[in-house]
């Protein structure tokens, strides 16, 4: 099975991206609230290191699908991923039995030093080659594929558009893509472009998962800066609009994740409801018109 075979699986639905170390929202409470009526369909779990908590989530989730989100493999850094980061990733994936692992195209370390900020990929050919080599190496070591996600931008460096960069990596590393719509919007703001500029030529059939989250836009002396605040902010209407336009065009989409770290339980559930409504409507319309096909037919 190759990483691209993941695209043949069924649509899991709308899920919540949670940090298991955070009490806001408390993942246990979310699971409790999800019992009478399904507000969300899966968890995307971010564990930071030791797999102990991942095991607890797996046990408590009782069959709820779990995807894993790692941070720290640094696939765009021009050195192979650190052994301890890979080991932690493997352990967590095993503990969750995750079908894939999401990792952002960013780096957190420079010359061994942990950086003060999350740094997105430099958007050049050389950087893309680096990411491809690292992702290929990673995917030989992990129990399920590591799938790259576009990181948020405030200061794009390099000549490529983020969608060109993502497409190059997906093609050359033969991996699906996680497209974070808020992060895409952050890039478009930097370029002064429309939210979905470049989407027409982007291989949306490679998109396995879409991300949305709360954010705030700061204006500093006329320069707009997107800040990714996840559950501490509202999902901007423009991002929900992007979602409604992109969902019907992602024929192999398997998951829509709302990253809700720092939200209260109530806000997380309210965002799940809000996004579910958008996704259900978009998918229903696309299925009715034949634009989307159920997984069985796609296989």
């Amino acid at each position: 099975m190759t990483a691209l075979d993941l695209l043949k699986g069924p649509f899991l639905g709308v899920g919540l991206g949670i940090d298991v170390h955070s009490s806001s929202p408390d993942w246990r409470k979310l699971l409790e609230k999800n019992k009478p009526k399904r507000a969300f369909d899966f968890f995307e779990v971010y564990t930071r290191g030791e797999p102990g908590l991942a095991k607890q989530v797996k046990e408590a989730a009782r069959g709820l699908p779990l995807i894993y989100h790692h941070e720290g493999l640094d696939p765009v850094y021009p050195k192979p991923p650190r052994d301890e980061a890979v080991e932690a990733c493997v352990e967590n994936m095993k503990a969750l039995q995750a079908p894939w692992c999401v990792e952002e195209l960013a780096y957190r370390r420079l010359d061994g030093r942990y950086l003060d900020f999350f740094m997105p990929a430099v958007l050049t050919e050389e950087s893309a080659r680096t990411a491809v080599a690292n992702l290929r190496a990673l995917n030989e070591q992990t129990p399920a594929p590591v799938v790259p996600e576009n990181a948020p931008y405030q200061l794009p460096v390099g000549n490529l558009h983020i969608l060109e960069y993502l497409a190059l990596i997906s093609e050359r590393a033969e991996v699906p893509i996680v497209l974070d719509l808020g992060h895409l919007y952050s890039f478009q703001i930097c370029r002064g472009s429309e939210p979905l500029t470049g989407i027409e030529t982007f291989p949306l059939d490679r998109v396995i998962e879409l991300h949305v989250a709360g954010s705030v836009i700061l204006n500093r002396d006329g320069v707009q800066l997107y800040e990714d605040v996840h559950g501490a902010g509202e999902i901007p209407p423009v991002v929900l609009d992007m979602l409604s336009q992109v969902v019907p065009r992602c024929e192999n989409l398997r998951a829509v994740t709302i990253e809700v770290e720092d939200a209260t339980t109530e806000v997380a559930l309210a965002q799940a409801h809000q996004v579910k409504k958008v996704v259900d409507k978009a998918r229903a319309g696309a299925l009715a018109t034949g634009r989307l096909r159920p997984a069985k037919q796609r296989r």
Binding site: V122, L155, V157, N159, C190, V223
Partner: protein, 370 residues
């Protein structure tokens, strides 16, 4: 390793306005940049130079604000605001300066040891505009926010920073391991003695509240941090307490000997300071007999010359340059029986002058900061 060079240059540029400026104005052959970021090939430079300069600046400033707010605002509000006054700018500019300084490269985690910010503040080339109270405030904030909490958790401190930051007379004292004789005076607990001229706690509160710090006269005194397992209590005491504690730090002393080292005109003040230390539980043992008042002066003016502390002398004392009281003649006078100074209208949070030894919590338990 072109990509790695780009990442290093980007990291440097986000922290240093000189690098951003060199990128913006065009740096022939990268010579100016090489001073800050090592040599970078022209093609790699071009990638960074193509970045929107206004956005570069906005992001760099935003990152400086975030680091200021996450790392330093709670621990060193006075250091930030006081340095901002010195450079005639805002606290963001202080943070930007720290990010660009070599001290920043010595940081641990989120500047756990304080070296990135405080090291920068101390190593600025031009310190001529620094408020007189800034050095005291830096030492005080450092001990409260970093030096004491790290020691209580057995975490290492930055020795080089402490050497530059803490006045020479700073003492880390502990009771003798051997139980002292009941009839002797001895240290009762672990403590830190910080010589100071200005009321740093009040200045800090004023700056934190965004108020002006009024003109203050130097009034040498000591701040005592009484250490418990994971907390400390703070006292302010007259400068003479420093000498008493220095003596007791070396071992227990018979009550009738403790005041011997003090000159006749200091004896009563030294007695008052000792009494306050005993009452505060810093020192244990019986007090000596209260010294008789000194004989009246023979000539007018002579009294003033001996009992009014001169600023210079006081300064020397506060910086810890005066020796322990081995010889009475070497004593620097205490600031009389006056209470330590107050920060007047600026310090609304603590408007009243403190008595010679007043208690207040310096650190909360479990590492929570003041």
């Amino acid at each position: 390793m072109a990509l790695l060079d780009q990442l290093r240059l980007l990291d440097r540029a986000l922290r240093d306005v000189r690098v951003r400026e060199a990128l913006r104005t065009g740096d022939r052959g990268g010579r100016r940049l090489a001073r800050f970021a090592g040599s970078v090939a022209p093609a790699d430079l071009a990638v960074l130079r193509a970045v929107d300069a206004r956005r570069f600046e906005a992001v760099a400033q935003r990152q400086a604000e975030m680091i200021r707010d996450r790392w330093w605002k709670d621990r060193y509000p006075g250091a930030l605001a006081g340095t901002a006054l010195a450079i005639g700018a805002g606290t963001r500019e202080v943070a930007l300066g720290a990010l660009a300084s070599p001290s920043f490269d010595r940081r641990e985690g989120e500047d756990e040891t304080g070296v990135a910010l405080l090291g920068f503040i101390l190593s600025r080339e031009d310190r001529t505009q620094d408020p007189e109270w800034l050095a005291d405030l830096l030492a005080y904030e450092y001990l409260v926010a970093t030096g004491l909490p790290r020691r209580s958790k057995n975490k290492p401190v930055d020795q080089g920073l402490e050497q530059r930051l803490l006045p020479e007379g700073t003492r880390f004292l502990a009771p003798q391991a051997r139980k002292p004789a009941k009839a002797d005076l001895a240290l009762a607990r672990k403590l830190v003695v910080l010589p100071s001229e200005y009321p740093s706690d009040e200045i800090r509160e004023a700056l934190r509240a965004g108020q002006n710090v009024p003109e203050l006269d130097a009034r040498p005194h000591v701040v005592l941090f009484l250490l418990e397992e994971e907390a400390a209590t703070e006292l302010r005491a007259p400068a003479l307490a420093h000498d008493l504690l220095d003596v007791l730090g070396q071992g227990s002393v018979a009550p009738d000997k403790i005041l011997e080292a003090f000159s006749a005109e200091d004896k009563r003040d030294a007695y008052a300071a000792l009494k306050a230390l005993v009452e505060a539980g810093v020192v244990q043992g019986p007090l000596p007999a209260e010294p008789a008042p000194p004989p009246p002066p023979r000539r007018k003016g002579a009294k003033a010359a001996t009992t009014e502390p001169s600023k210079e002398k006081g300064k020397e004392k506060a910086k810890g340059k005066a020796k322990p009281p081995e010889k009475p003649a070497a004593k620097a006078p205490a600031p009389g029986a006056k209470p330590a100074p107050k920060a007047k209208p600026a310090a609304k949070a603590n408007p009243k002058a403190k008595p010679a030894a007043t208690k207040k919590p310096a650190q909360q338990k479990k590492g929570k900061r003041k």
